[in-house]
């Protein structure tokens, strides 16, 4: 059963990532725009792995652990909350990377943000973003806000929890 839980969670997570990729293609792919197709393919795979498979795997791990401890509603609630926390954490880090130049600098640049005069993480983006624009304004400009971006993953977590604990109540063990 834990194998099925992990599989379902990973597939649902990957679906959530693909939905985001289809709906918010421009802001997500902005970093790879202007590069050769191989880079874009690798970038898409990386995004689906990070946004979908990773969150699905962590969700599956949490749910199967809780499911093995106890099949009750309390376990389901704890699994849901912990999975949501992990999913939110991973997705928020990735979302900030995609939308916040300052954070990207701090995470991956060898220079402090204030030392850089001209730089944009979101290369090739067809939008005129002001250097001083903060993260919320940038993500609102694209529509790729945190709540909207995380909604498919929240649904995926809820469906995974429902699948696991409904299955248990029907008496389907290992």
């Amino acid at each position: 059963m834990s194998a099925a839980i992990v599989r379902v969670s990973v597939v649902l997570g990957a679906c959530a990532a693909l939905i985001n990729l289809l709906v918010w293609h421009q802001p997500i792919m902005a970093m790879a725009n202007g590069h050769m197709w191989a880079v874009k393919v690798l970038y898409v795979m990386w995004f689906v792995l990070g946004w979908g498979v990773a969150t699905g795997a962590l969700t599956g791990l949490v749910i199967s652990s809780m499911w093995l401890r106890s099949p009750g509603r309390l376990s389901a609630a704890v699994a849901f909350v912990v999975s949501l926390f992990l999913t939110t954490t991973v997705c928020l880090v990735l979302h900030r990377c995609l939308t916040d130049d300052k954070f990207m600098h701090e995470a991956m640049s060898g220079q402090r943000p204030d030392e850089v005069t001209s730089y944009s993480t979101i290369q090739g983006m067809d939008m005129d973003m002001h250097p001083g624009m903060d993260m919320d304004m940038q993500s609102q400009a694209t529509g790729f806000t945190r709540v909207v971006a995380l909604t498919p993953n929240f649904i995926a977590v809820a469906l995974s929890v429902m699948y696991a604990f409904r299955h248990r109540r029907r008496g389907c063990g290992d």
Binding site: L42, L49, A54, A57, S109, R112
Partner: protein
Amino acid sequence: MNTAVADRSDFYALSPESRRPARTLKTYILLGWSVETFFLFFGMIMYPQLHPPLLGRLIWTQILCGIGMSSAVGAVAYMAASRFKQGSWAALIVTGIVAGAAFSICGEVCYFVDTLPGVDYYGSHEGPLLFRLKGDIGGFGLGLFGSWLLNTKMGVSLLNKIPFLR
């Protein structure tokens, strides 16, 4: 292949095959997080001039790369090899190749991001060959090592010594 059974002290007793998904995920999370943390300090020591504010880099390397991507690697490796019996040659090879390929994709994207103007995570400008060796060859080797731990008698006995991987 012989794998260890759950201890009496465990709160549940499961067959090795039942524990396989969680064990695969946890093994790759542990490996990926350890290597990512090593690279973090390696970069700080080798390229101190690139040392940025640490908080952002810690969040990036520990949460997204260390835990997130490693769990993704474990998941795809498990899903690819789950049709094969744990400990079989097929499981060993498929798990290793798939996990290694996934880690290499991460390494390549990391290299690509590092070469963007204004970004220099560590060493892609100073030593591009070392950076790619670390990401591609090192990543692939890590995938193979994880598969060896999960699918060989010696590897499983090593994992059994780590409490949360039993």
